[in-house]
């Protein structure tokens, strides 16, 4: 906060959903724990007649009051609007989500979705890029944008009486973006610098990129959100223009607003601004899934590093399958808190690892991965760390999880679910990620589904997915300068002071 030095942080490992932002320093992502998730991605978006579908969620004690009165409506042009009043402070977060992530790109042009996200700040016929930033800034707002495999999201958080600003700016750039060659060439260089920072100079991010590229073959998750560097260099302004025209349309987007407003009033303002935007009908939505893996895949990354890292990942379903909730509970059993199995046995007990974690995001649009990972000092052998991790995965299959341990995991997930509702931004984010995957209403299923997970289901799900033939293992082998690792942590690098 105020006196803490603000440093620019790359996304830490442990967040396998790679999200790439317009401006750095956004640590908002590290606060968001992946929770609930999505559903029928194949669900057809009906061409909607002017109508208002009000969905009142069933009251659920565990949810607090938070999602109870969220509503949605569809404009005739296909744009969906999801509204959640929250009057805790006179603030509003306004988010526009496009179903246009890296999964919508093609081989040879990866990184296009993210590059467009950057270009969205270069101005329209009416408002220049500079003016855009200045207006938000002068009104004390916070803005950023981010791209993932599945989507690109844009948001402003503003004082409640300034929300008109978001509505105008976002409706304007949904269709009036002006793409200039000079801006494009410069921004492409910026994105390549971003890639250097996030991935090229970060051994663990490189390892993760390599793992995902090996684990996924036909799924577009095969390539990184930010793109391969040669692809980024190959992208042209025409590519960006075509992607924008194809995907940045009302029927391929939705809006989420959370905060201090009155639904009726805000709906009118949004309709007025976004209603006139015309576009083609919604694009078909596919689920793209790799064929079953037929044996373990292994990747090695050898490069200078102080720390060894091992990641193993298993193909698993998303929220389309009820198994997703069981996987969520398994994640908590393995690595949530210092009484968790990984911490207890790998970090504390045998002191094999510096850190060990399990990660799983139900919200991927296409089936994703269940990740387990550990980092360790170079004096440990990767084989020992790997064996210890797999031992834990086997144990899930052979010995029922103790009922109290299961209850503990459920309590942890429920409490996190409540804590995450503290921020307007993450409330909006939660609604949106459900909607990206299937339907925001599925938030209501999260707590009941978690509560319903049984010991037997954990055993069954573990046996089904955590098999050698279904996994990809990636190992970071420290080499080079780090091998002369110094006794003191400040050594190991050449340091000279010239006056």
């Amino acid at each position: 906060m105020m006196i803490k030095d603000k440093t620019i942080e790359a996304i830490a490992f442990g967040a396998p959903v790679l999200i790439v932002c317009l401006v750095p320093g956004i640590d908002i992502w590290t606060r968001i724990r992946p929770h609930f998730r999505q559903g029928a991605a194949l669900k057809r978006l009906k061409p909607v007649i002017l109508m208002i579908m009000i969905a009142i969620l069933l009251p659920s004690a565990s949810l607090g009051q938070t999602f109870r009165d969220a509503v949605d409506l569809n404009l005739p042009n296909g744009l969906k609007i999801i509204l959640q009043e929250n009057h805790k402070a006179p603030l509003i977060t306004f988010q526009v989500w496009y179903r246009a992530g890296s999964r919508n790109e093609h081989v040879g042009k990866t990184g296009l979705a993210h590059l467009l996200e950057h270009m969205m700040f270069k101005g329209t016929k009416k408002v220049s890029g500079e003016e855009f930033t200045r207006m938000i800034s002068e009104n004390g707002g916070e803005e950023n944008a981010f791209t993932s495999h599945d989507f690109a999201g844009y948001y402003e958080t503003l004082h409640a009486d300034r929300i008109g600003l978001s509505i105008m700016l976002e409706s304007d750039r949904m269709s009036n973006l002006v793409l200039r060659e000079s801006d494009f060439k410069t921004e492409r260089m910026v994105v390549i610098e971003e890639r250097r920072m996030r991935t090229d100079d970060n051994p663990q991010a490189t390892l993760l990129e390599q793992l995902e590229s090996a684990a996924f073959q036909s799924q577009p998750y095969h390539w990184p959100v930010i793109g391969w560097v040669e692809d980024i260099e190959r992208i042209t302004l025409e590519d960006v223009q075509a992607f924008y025209s194809k995907y940045y349309n009302p029927a391929n987007a939705f809006i989420v607003v959370v905060g201090d407003f009155r639904k009726e009033e805000l709906t009118r303002e949004i309709e007025k601004a976004f209603g006139p935007i015309q576009g083609p009908p919604a694009l078909p939505r596919y689920v793209i899934q790799d064929p079953p893996q037929q044996g373990e895949r292994r990747v090695r990354v050898e490069r200078p590093s102080q720390i060894g890292t091992l990641i193993a990942a298993y193909h698993v379903p998303n929220l389309l399958k009820p198994d997703a909730y069981v996987l969520e509970v398994i994640k908590a059993v393995l690595s949530s808190g210092k009484s968790s199995r990984f911490y207890n046995r790998l970090v504390r007990g045998r002191q094999l690892a510096l850190e060990a974690s399990a990660e799983y995001n139900m919200e991927d649009q296409d089936p994703g991965l269940f990740y387990i990972s550990a980092s360790y000092l170079p004096n440990k052998t990767p084989a020992a760390v790997e064996a210890a991790l797999f031992e834990e995965m086997e144990l899930l299959k052979t010995t029922p999880v103790d009922q109290r341990e299961l209850n503990k995991a459920i309590n942890q997930l429920e409490a996190s679910f409540v804590f995450d509702q503290d921020s307007l931004f993450s409330l909006g984010m939660n609604l949106a990620q459900h909607e990206i995957a299937s339907d925001w209403r599925l938030i209501a299923n999260y707590v009941p589904s978690i509560r319903g997970v049984t010991q037997e289901e954990i055993r069954r799900v573990a046996a089904k997915y955590f098999t050698p033939e279904n996994r990809t293992v990636a190992v970071l082998i420290p080499t080079g300068p780090a091998e002369q690792a110094p006794a003191t942590p400040t050594g190991g690098m050449k340091e000279k002071i010239v006056r």
Binding site: I3, V127, N202, R348, D422
Partner: protein
């Protein structure tokens, strides 16, 4: 899609009109009010209510930062903060964590150069159990030897892994060079060597000296009322015994002439920090510096540094300037990451922006925008979640900014003129006599 573009000229026109008409944004209604009291044991207690989620945040700030590390025991403040969580007179490490996890509560200890923090978030229904654990670790830690050894191992592992992060390497090298031999020069975590020299006796001594109610600030916020705090939390808080605190003062020392620190690493991108001495958080110039910093390199795309280096030249993704004000004088720094071969060019560009800031007053438009941003954005910066707000209120108290700080912030910022900005730029920016830190492939960066 030629027909999809609706003509919304009138909307944008209206918009500009709306913006120019609106009055300055009020701050006070965006953040919950705080009730302050000082207990008999001299613990300062701040309470705020936010009933939007059924959770309570408990934040304790202890004036026991790493600047108070005794000579040769660097890292002890941090190790103490982390180690209070390892065991109490009643509970082992396993018991503490099993109970916390069963509640789904979080309890974390952290340490900065100025202070230590103990932070809990717990569901309202579990408040009594959670608060009991909070007070156990705070007032009855036992520092079990084997667990402390394990904690040292964790810290050493973290120190090693920081070596793989160019920004961390640069920050550490910069602070070491800037603060010379004064306490802010040393990393919060200490070093492998200094950690080895810290035994249980030293931890107990440090803990007993500083972890006292009269040296701490407690913030309780969320789904709770001041009456509940009095009824449910007060008795246990009053059991915490005060003691005389040794009065210490940090006398900062700074590198006063140009220093280049070049750290050679096999990376594709140079991480550059250019900076010099800063001010104390309580210094009046902090506000003029905040305005200057927003204009120079706030991190927004329209700051001067970003406009030149990122938007116009495409040389960096990350470029910003930072006013790192601390309890004692901190630093001012510019941070840039650019590919090795353009390191020298971007350094020159950053220096010429510093010179420009010292040469001519900022424009009225820039000044207005900075003021409006800093004032309007205040509730978002500090009050987006219960935990953020609790930390913020604890720091307001710690730095002695006054209970009415959120209310008076507008006038503090609005009183800043272009002349003030020029004066602080001339006084504090160092286009020549700065510490320049470059973590890069030095050959490719042309620094050799």
């Amino acid at each position: 899609m030629p027909d999809k573009r609706a003509d919304r000229k009138f909307l944008v026109g209206t918009l500009l009109l709306i913006i120019s008409m609106v009055l300055p944004i009020g701050l006070s209604n965006a953040m919950p009010p705080v009730e302050r009291s000082v207990l008999a044991n001299k613990l300062t207690v701040l309470v705020f209510e936010d009933h939007s989620i059924p959770a309570v945040t408990i934040e304790l700030l202890v004036a026991a930062g790493s600047w108070q590390d005794p000579r040769g025991l660097n890292g002890i403040a941090n190790l103490t903060a982390k180690s209070i969580l390892l065991g109490t007179r009643q509970l082992t490490f396993d018991q503490i964590n099993d109970r916390l996890d069963f509640l789904g509560a979080s309890l974390d200890a952290d340490c900065t150069k100025d202070f230590a923090n103990l932070t809990m978030q717990v569901l309202k229904k579990d408040l009594d159990a959670g608060f009991g654990l909070f007070m156990d670790v705070l007032t009855e830690p036992t520092f079990p030897d084997s667990d402390v050894a394990g904690e040292k191992g964790n810290i050493i592992g973290k120190l090693r892994s920081l070596e793989d992060q160019p920004m961390e390497v640069a920050n550490r090298a910069f602070e070491k060079a800037l603060f010379l031999d004064s306490p802010y020069a040393f990393p919060v975590e200490g070093t492998e060597k200094s950690l080895a020299g810290i035994d249980r006796e030293a931890l107990v001594k440090f803990y007993s000296a500083f972890y006292r109610p009269n040296n701490s600030i407690l913030v309780v916020g969320g789904d709770i009322t001041p009456e509940e705090v009095k009824g449910r939390l007060l008795p246990r808080l009053l059991d915490w015994k005060p003691a005389d605190i040794q009065q210490m003062k940090l006398v900062p020392t700074f590198a006063r002439e140009h220093v280049t620190v070049a750290v050679d690493k096999p990376v594709t991108q140079a991480t550059i920090i250019i900076g010099g001495p800063g001010v104390e958080r309580s210094n009046r110039d902090y506000y003029a510096l905040s305005v200057m910093n927003h204009i120079l390199g706030s991190g927004e795309l329209n700051s001067r540094l970003a406009a030149q280096i990122r938007v116009k030249a495409g040389l960096a993704y990350a470029v910003q300037s930072v006013v790192a004000a601390r309890k004692y004088a901190g630093s001012l720094r510019i941070i840039i990451q650019t590919k090795n071969p353009t390191a020298r060019d971007t350094i020159s560009m950053a220096i010429s922006e510093m010179e420009r800031m010292q040469r001519e007053p900022v424009s009225e438009a820039e000044l207005q925008e900075a003021r409006k941003f800093l004032i309007g954005n205040f509730p978002l910066r500090y009050g987006s979640t219960q935990q953020e707000y609790a930390k913020f209120r604890a720091q307001i108290e710690f730095f002695g900014l006054g209970m009415d700080y959120p209310e008076k912030y507008s006038s503090l910022i609005n009183s800043i003129t272009a002349e003030d900005v020029l004066r602080v730029a001339r006084e504090h920016l160092k286009p020549r006599d700065h510490v320049l830190t470059v973590v890069a492939d030095q050959e490719k960066a042309g620094m050799k």
